[in-house]
């Protein structure tokens, strides 16, 4: 690969929101005093009448979002993933999911790459606690282009969504022609020896690992599994017929994340081994994002080493 181009998912989110906001008067955005970081402030600047900074009150924010949706608005609610999913979980459960209202929770700062702020601000549980909720759908884009497509897509589908973005700029994987489909994964690379399902930043890391593995004679398929809920069941089933082992890579706890989601589905259908590359049931620590990714063995080298060991290369 040549020079790595990185782009901000958050800025892509805000840009897309503004574009949608111009086309659709019913879009309202709420934030809880993190709008400068989540970038929703950019929407607020453009559409001050359709933006509410609720203050550091995530529970109230989600309730207000639900109310706005009951009045016919499509509401985007943003905060850091750890707060957007955890601080207001009951409000999301009751006011949003049980009420089946059109609220899109777009959480930035998912995973450990929040970095220096440390464990209190790192969200390694959000996918687990969001995807368990009835009526909730969970999407984890892999780059800025996919973020744009996902935001456009979720606007067009009524009902609750949780979209997980990152603080980090991600290497660009897609171009503007990319199309996101709910319940569809994207096969980015085809290999004959094994398959990797990845989300978020780990899609790029997995692609890099696969390149290195190729040099060792291990040929891996790499799949962007951004539609965590609903899953691409057809594709999972198809690969389960081909391989007796999956690798799943995610910047999330191994408990309850993508690996668990895939396992919950496929083990009802076929016997299969699912090797999870993620974070153990522990809290994160402070550090630079790049250092943390290495520390938790979620960089391409860590993924490469793990797969090479398992595949006996």
């Amino acid at each position: 690969m040549g020079e790595i181009i990185k782009q901000s998912l958050r800025e892509s989110y805000a840009k897309t929101l503004i574009k949608l906001g111009k086309e659709h008067q019913n879009i309202v955005v709420v934030d809880a005093d993190l709008s400068t970081s989540t970038k929703t402030a950019l929407f607020g600047k453009e559409f001050p009448d359709r933006f509410f900074n609720i203050g550091i009150s995530e529970q109230s924010m989600i309730g207000i979002a639900a109310g706005l949706a009951l009045k016919g608005k499509t509401v985007f609610a943003s905060s850091f993933a750890v707060f957007a999913s955890g601080r207001d979980w009951d409000q999301i459960r009751q006011s949003v999911c049980y009420n089946e209202v059109d609220v899109k929770i777009v959480a930035t700062h998912g995973g450990i790459t929040v970095g220096e702020d440390g464990a209190t601000h790192q969200s390694n549980e959000d996918i687990a606690i969001m995807r368990i909720l009835p009526n909730m759908r969970v999407i984890v884009p892999a780059d800025a282009f996919e973020t744009e497509r996902v935001i456009e897509k979720v606007y067009g589908i009524k009902g609750p969504f949780y979209v997980r973005l990152s603080r980090e700029n991600f290497p660009v994987i897609y171009d503007k022609d990319y199309k996101f489909e709910l319940g569809r994964f994207d096969v980015l690379r085809k290999g004959k020896d094994g398959v990797i399902f990845a989300i978020g930043k780990e899609v790029y890391e997995s692609l890099s690992a696969a390149e290195e593995l190729e040099k060792e004679g291990i040929s891996m398929t790499v799949i962007n599994a951004s539609s965590v809920k609903p899953l691409d069941k057809d594709l999972i089933y198809q690969y389960a017929k081909e391989f007796d082992r999956f690798f799943v890579v995610e910047e999330h706890q191994k408990i309850g994340g993508l690996g668990s989601a895939i396992g919950e589905f496929i083990t009802e259908e076929r016997p299969i081994i699912i090797k999870k590359i993620g974070i153990d049931n522990i809290f994160g620590v402070s550090g630079k994002a790049d250092d943390l990714i290495k520390y938790f063995k979620l960089d391409s080298k860590g993924i490469y080493n793990y797969i090479k060991t398992v595949m006996g290369g």
Binding site: I62, A66, L68, L70
Partner: protein, 286 residues
């Protein structure tokens, strides 16, 4: 008759009598529903009955024949456990069939233990986890502001015990700062929560001072005096750039002597003998 602020309404005795009788019927119906289910919350339903009656049968812009009318006012029952009072009112209005009340809380029927907007016509928001209805109400009120629908309002009934929820105060702070004057909160201040007296468990007083400090207009009333209730609701029509909190002093279990001020009937259905006495006191065969 004067309320604590020295003001009260002077409405026609015909109107007051009509509302009183409607509230009496609603009390009977909600109690019968809870009795048949042998499950539900009579105390807080009875304390709210007069206010809910005043809203649905007098104050609110509401068309029972067209519950999605785009000019209607909203009523949100943030204290969702008082669902039976709202169900009885909706049944009296003909929004739901009266027969549904016989199947409160029963499998396969629409009247859930707590209000469910997806299952029950006339329910604007599903509530039950305390503290959330007020935020939802503020969201609707803001939506009305965005859409410049100036004539419509949002009424939200909050339990006094519910005022202990942190989310309530988050939203009170925000609504006050936004000056959302199409939002009317009504606190059913009956003084009792599940475990006992609010004052002893975690006192919420002084509510008037607290709400005013958060930039709300407050009106204190007797929540069982229709002159008071109607006065407060009309007073809340004045747009003064502030949300309105009606602090309604009520009696838990109001209308049934042995339930009144009795924490035991927060969430317990009456037995056969108690039911007989309750119906007698409420004048079932009147």
């Amino acid at each position: 008759m004067e309320n604590e602020q020295g003001k009260t309404g002077n409405y026609s005795s015909e109107l007051i009598d009509e509302l009183k009788d409607k509230a009496r019927k609603i009390r009977i119906e909600l109690l019968e529903a809870i009795y048949k289910a042998q499950s539900g919350h009579p105390g807080g339903s009875l304390s709210a009955a007069d206010i809910v009656t005043a809203l649905y049968f007098h104050k609110m812009r509401y068309d029972p024949q067209n519950i999605h009318w785009d000019k209607r006012d909203y009523f949100i029952l943030s204290k969702g456990h008082a669902a039976p009072v709202q169900y009885a009112a909706l049944a009296e209005l003909g929004v739901i069939k009266k027969g549904e009340l016989d199947y409160l809380r029963q499998l396969g029927h629409m009247l859930q233990g707590h209000p469910d907007r997806m299952k029950t016509p006339g329910i604007e928001a599903s509530t039950g986890s305390l503290g959330q209805g007020l935020s939802i109400a503020l969201g609707i009120a803001l939506g009305l502001k965005i859409d410049k629908e100036k004539d419509r309002k949002v009424y939200v009934m909050i339990g006094d015990g519910e005022m202990q929820e942190g989310q309530i105060w988050e939203t009170i702070l925000k609504a006050g700062n936004l000056g959302v004057d199409n939002l009317v909160g009504i606190i059913d201040y009956n003084g009792i929560q599940l475990d006992g007296f609010v004052e002893r468990i975690d006192d919420i007083s002084p509510l008037k001072e607290k709400c005013e400090a958060f930039r709300w207009k407050t009106i204190e009333i007797n929540g069982h005096d229709f002159n008071d209730i109607l006065y407060a609701l009309d007073e809340s029509d004045k747009r003064e750039g502030k949300p309105i909190m009606i602090i309604a002093r009520t009696v838990k279990g109001k209308g049934v002597s042995f339930m009144e001020n009795n924490p035991a009937f927060h969430g317990k259905a009456p037995n056969e003998e108690q039911m007989k006495q309750a119906l007698q006191e409420l004048g079932k065969n009147r």
